[in-house]
């Protein structure tokens, strides 16, 4: 049943405006790419789609560059304050984002990050960082420390052993974590709206369109939005 709204959106997305406004037609019968084309090329959808993808990939790179070593350290080493860090990570997730908005905008203006894709990606990384740290920590706790130590005993340094033994074993889990980061960034509206005006991501654009555009545009946009989710489901099967 959870697929139903998806199917309906898909149908509406490619239905013609005439069918959409015809009260006797619940399911559109005439299909057209016009709406989607219009959205993508005239209303800046294409640009927003590109922005969304760039931001999501940047967010993955940044949050993994910082989060993966942190996760590894939490999983493998014992150090003071470790539990506090883990707790802090969780607490961070509980904080509402809006509270950060004003200081964040002020900071961004000073750093000339306002209205840049990197800026949005940074904000998204901050959002997904705790998740990446916690997920990678649990992945690395799951891969046996003895396997890595065996690598060290048989002639590797710790870093080589990490690269050649632990990383290949952790890859499926890390891919899942990256996917979550991607989807998180892809769906995020608030930061993207507040921090950009000309370089909007897709959901931010949608939010703007929501108030002005006719309904069938919304469905087309929703269809594009749901695309990665569909890919995810297909891959996960």
């Amino acid at each position: 049943w959870m697929g139903l709204p998806l199917v309906v959106s898909t149908l509406y997305a490619f239905g013609t405006p005439d069918d959409y406004y015809n009260p006797h037609r619940i399911i559109p019968l005439h299909f057209t790419l016009e709406t989607t084309k219009m959205l993508l090329f005239t209303l800046g959808g294409w640009e927003a789609l590109k922005n969304s993808i760039i931001v999501a990939i940047l967010a993955i790179i940044i949050s993994f560059a910082l989060g993966l070593p942190a996760g590894y350290a939490i999983a493998r080493f014992i150090f003071p304050g470790k539990d506090t860090i883990k707790l802090g990570m969780l607490a961070l997730k509980v904080f509402p984002v809006p509270i950060m908005a004003v200081p964040l905008v002020m900071l961004y203006i000073r750093l000339h990050l306002i209205d840049t894709l990197l800026g949005v990606a940074l904000a998204h990384s901050a959002g997904s960082l705790p998740l990446v740290v916690l997920i990678t920590a649990s992945i690395f706790s799951g891969t046996s420390a003895e396997l890595e130590e065996a690598g060290m005993v048989f002639g590797l340094t710790r870093f080589q052993s990490f690269l050649r033994i632990t990383l290949p074993l952790a890859l499926p889990g890390l891919a899942a974590a990256a996917m979550f980061t991607f989807v998180g960034s892809w769906n995020e509206v608030f930061a993207a709206s507040v921090l950009t005006f000309s370089h909007r991501t897709l959901p931010a654009l949608m939010l703007t369109l929501m108030e002005t555009a006719p309904d069938y545009y919304k469905f087309a946009a929703a269809f594009i939005m749901a695309f990665p989710a569909m890919i995810y489901v297909a891959v996960a099967r």
């Binding site: 003895e146 130590e149 065996a150 060290m152 005993v153 048989f154 002639g155 590797l156 033994i165 074993l169």
Partner: protein, 369 residues
């Protein structure tokens, strides 16, 4: 193949609050099979990990021959290790697992092939070289781990409870095989275990540890027959050595008096027990150094004593029988070969081999005799 020397080795965790290893001095001879034996948490694994370089000592030195390796990383020590979990890499085929140490050390390709074949043959896993570890049983993975450890001719071979994850049957078989292999390769070996049977059957010498301290080092029979402390005495041997409270009494001869028994000690014990007259001690006797009179006789004994008891329970082990006898308030276990059908409640006379009686100081728990 070197001699390994540990000098005053210490490892503290948690800023000194946990003294995992607390001053171990030990020399493992070239080619020797040394077993580090002790209960979990006694520091035996930490000691092994310091020899491997996976753990850095808080204090003390480690020498391989004349070379100080205390702070060398594991890869520069030319050691091999068999891990408790086997630590066979799941993303590599068996062949690549075994070849890995050689590849890292950049052996020529044909020599790698030759040595992997040699090791695989020694461990009878030639047929498994093309498989992934997930397709192997526990016993087979164990063999792969051992093959990987011997393929490089290490200075020292370290084994961390390698048999503890195998079932009882396989454990007995692998025990003999590992010992056979070590005898053949003559590699200096440090073997960690908490299983005293493994220690007794495999080790050239046994080093017994408890609470971070080394208690006794010696050949299996010596540790078994002449334990230097209560801990060693009770840790080794199953069923456990019987331990009973007693008082040393001098009264026209030397006696041990306890709840329900009185044993006359030979006169040559007098010198050793000098300071203990009229004092409380702990007396230990192994179940196999006693017998029930009229049922069986002790062999190769010169001096015996006799006490009285009551049959409380009889445990038939097939080849042996354990008689649980009540002596005063204590239950004492006696091991007798063969099947002994004693009725419960019967009065019996227990014969004790006086040359295998142990007396411990109550406070220090060190052996007096």
């Amino acid at each position: 193949m070197v001699e390994v020397r540990l000098e005053n080795l210490k490892k503290y965790f948690d800023r000194g609050r946990v003294k995992a290893v607390d001053g171990v001095n030990l020399t493992i001879k070239d080619g020797e099979f040394l077993v580090l034996l002790g209960p979990s948490g006694c520091g035996k694994t930490t000691t092994l990990r310091m020899i491997s370089g996976l753990e850095t000592p808080t204090e003390g030195k480690i020498y391989f021959g004349d070379r100080d390796v205390t702070y060398l990383p594991p890869k520069d020590r030319n050691i091999s290790m068999v891990f408790q979990s086997y630590a066979v890499w799941p993303h590599m085929k068996v062949y690549d697992n075994i070849a890995f140490p050689l590849k890292v050390k950049k052996y020529p390709k044909n020599e790698i092939d030759e040595r992997v074949k040699w090791a695989a043959e020694l461990l009878q896993i030639e047929d498994l070289l093309d498989r992934y570890p997930a397709q192997l049983s526990g016993g087979q993975r164990q063999r792969v781990a051992v093959a990987r450890a011997i393929v490089v001719e290490p200075n020292v071979l370290l084994m961390d409870e390698p048999l503890s994850n195998l079932d009882a049957k396989l454990r007995v078989a692998m025990r003999a095989e590992i010992k056979k292999l070590q005898t053949k390769l003559k590699v200096t070996t440090v073997y960690v275990t908490h299983d005293q049977v493994e220690a007794m059957t495999m080790g050239d010498r046994i080093a017994v540890m408890n609470k971070g301290h080394l208690l006794q080092v010696g050949p299996p029979t010596e540790v078994y027959l002449k334990p230097n402390s209560l801990f060693v005495a009770t840790f080794i041997g199953a069923p456990e050595m019987n331990i009973v409270d007693a008082t040393v009494v001098e009264n026209d001869g030397l006696f041990l008096e306890g709840n329900g028994f009185r044993i006359r000690l030979p006169d040559d014990f007098r010198e050793l027990l000098e300071g203990y007259i009229e004092k409380d001690v702990l007396v230990g006797i192994r179940p196999e150094h006693m017998t029930v009179k009229g049922v069986s006789t002790l062999e190769h004994v010169t001096r015996t004593a006799e006490i009285e008891g009551l049959v409380d329970f009889v445990e038939a082990l097939g080849t042996d029988t354990i008689v649980h006898a009540k002596v005063g308030e204590n239950i004492i276990k006696i091991k007798i070969p063969g099947h002994v059908p004693l009725p419960i409640g019967e009065n019996i006379k227990i014969e004790i081999d006086l040359d295998n009686i142990h007396i411990f100081d109550r406070d220090t728990e060190k052996a007096i005799i």
